[in-house]
Subunit: 355 residues, 2 copies
């Protein structure tokens, strides 16, 4: 397989390293910053090219790893340069912009939940995506065969692909990533002010404060774009959080012991549910679905399952000899999730059975 | 040395284990909960007694490790039971209440920054305090000899004592501990709501969300008291944070790229200053001070240095033969801090020199 990497920083370069190590795939690469491109070439990750067009000319799969604000336009440019069978995907942290700007059968939006505190090709590593969730955000325009290829390729790179809509992706990321970054920033700023006022250095306070502020002041070159691209979802949460803080403050001001306790117990219950019990031990089963061979069907099914909280761990597409129909095989957790998956797929009008 | 441990949970029992292992000290213990007392006895940490009075009867040092809301009253009771030479200290997370209620030469408020997510004697360990900051909050009433004993004892238990006033302690803890707990609670509650609305499980998102929420829903039996006991300091910060959140939200709503960048850069600078550069490599020097042998002098000096951000790493008290005067030796970081320390101590009217 021949890959092209557009944007050869930490993520782009790690994709190239992983593809070579795990798939024996070669990659060409291009970056508007010559230093970044040279650094990736120095790691032996890819063959540098003189232009974006040169980089993608021979590629079967193109990864666009550019800053969030430029993704829509660069993906559009790549799509205008490559042939009808090429898979184009990206790695941006916010998905609605790039996905809505590029409704093309060849494009599948993507976002690996992997990174390091220090960017750049020098810190790239082939196992960066090992076990990491890698969101895929297809639309009804996305070709099933491209979604399948993306899913398979990411699995081969060590990641766990997970299909959901760009809208749901951006809501979830606002909560589990963007809001924690805002809080971390507020905490260090507040701590700086308090400690300066009291003339104290930061106490050796064990891991709790460090943990809460580990992501504070993440690189502005990346994060200003992320905050702006997902501002509506973040603003919605900030409004809620401001109200929740004011409510908790009122409990303290009223010294309302019962209310403080209920508030803390609710958090304890959510913490247990999300982080302790949430670690699923997966035994999967496979489900076979007969489908018409047309764009968007696989995406629709995957999005339906994703939207219902069903954990799609693998998928395969088998076109029938007539090319008009095909069979999709889906792997989902045994039991309740498998049963719900079958019900939901049947509701979409497909013939479905557990294999 | 004979210790008494009042409250034989995780911290109390770990103090007993550390004292036995590092000092060969024996301990008696009492807890109003017979199960907790039995568990501590089972760990071989201490000899259980039938009452608080029995526990402290033969003790030279008493550690009160009771819930924050009960500390003031229990310390008072202990002070009424023990002799004039006994050191009484506590381990509460909020200090003004217990300290203001017990202005006694024998009492030094304390607070180790150590703990585990699971409490109880069963999880106690002798190295729990190794390298941990252990705040001491003496007042002008505290006997110098007791502050010195406490400082020495905690150092021997493996901790790093640090002297500051109860007021400053409570402000700092509001920032570096209580506020992060509030944020962690809000984050899991918000995440629970979002993920439930979107039908998604928590993504395998790497450490960032887990880190930010590790302390969410900490035990209500401990934390309701902490929030209430330090509510004024927490409320003050919540007001600031609510305003800061609203300000950041306005930047997003205005799509003000420069303001978002400045806001993030400020956090990045504070993060570097507090957490990266803040790790001091300490070379210490010793300073000798001649002082009148009277209550509160050592505490005043230690508090003055602490309040000026000077890191007091050790101290010794040498009474002169006449018992009317004495010499204090203080260890502080070489260079700028040592110079400031000498200046500040001279300003207090004492004869001071670098040794």
């Amino acid at each position: 397989m021949r890959l092209a990497i557009v944007g050869t920083g930490l993520i782009g370069c790690s994709v190239a390293l992983a593809a070579r190590e795990k798939l024996g795939a070669g990659a060409t690469g291009w970056d508007p910053d010559p230093d970044s491109l040279a650094a990736a070439a120095e790691r032996g990750a890819l063959t540098p090219t003189a232009s974006l067009a040169d980089a993608v000319a021979q590629a079967e799969v193109v990864f666009v790893a550019a800053p969030v604000a430029e993704l829509g336009q660069i993906v559009e440019q790549v799509l205008s340069l490559v042939g009808p069978d090429v898979l184009v995907t990206d790695v941006g942290s916010v998905k609605r912009g790039v996905v809505n700007a590029n409704r093309d059968p060849r494009f599948v939006g993507g976002h690996p939940l992997a990174g390091r505190e220090i960017g750049g090709a020098a810190h790239a590593q082939p196992d960066l995506f090992e076990g990491a969730t890698w969101y895929l955000t297809p639309t009804e325009t996305t070709a099933g065969v491209q979604l399948e290829r993306a899913f398979r390729l990411l699995t081969d790179l060590g990641a766990r692909p997970r299909v959901l809509s760009a809208e749901v992706h951006d809501q979830i990321l606002a909560t589990v990533s963007h809001l924690p970054h805002v809080f971390a920033n507020l905490l260090v700023t507040e701590a700086g002010a308090t400690l300066a006022a009291e003339g104290e250095p930061l106490p050796a306070i064990g891991p709790s404060f460090r943990d809460s502020t580990r992501v504070a002041g993440a690189p502005s070159s990346i994060w200003v774009d992320i905050y702006r691209a997902n501002s509506d979802a973040i603003v919605e949460r900030l409004r809620r959080v401001e109200a929740d803080l004011a409510k908790f403050r009122a409990m303290l001001e009223a010294d309302d012991s019962d209310a403080i306790k209920d508030w803390n117990e609710l958090a304890a219950a959510e913490h247990r549910r999300l982080l302790v019990e949430g670690l699923d031990s997966e035994k999967t089963t496979s489900i076979s679905v007969r489908v018409p061979n047309q764009s968007g069907v696989l995406a629709e099914i995957a999005l339906t399952l994703g939207g219902a909280g069903i954990d799609l761990t693998d998928l395969q597409l088998h076109p029938a000899a007539d090319r008009a129909t095909g069979t999709i095989v889906l792997w989902v957790p045994q039991g309740e999730q498998a049963e719900r998956a079958i019900g939901l797929i049947a509701e979409l009008g497909h013939s479905v059975s557990e294999v």
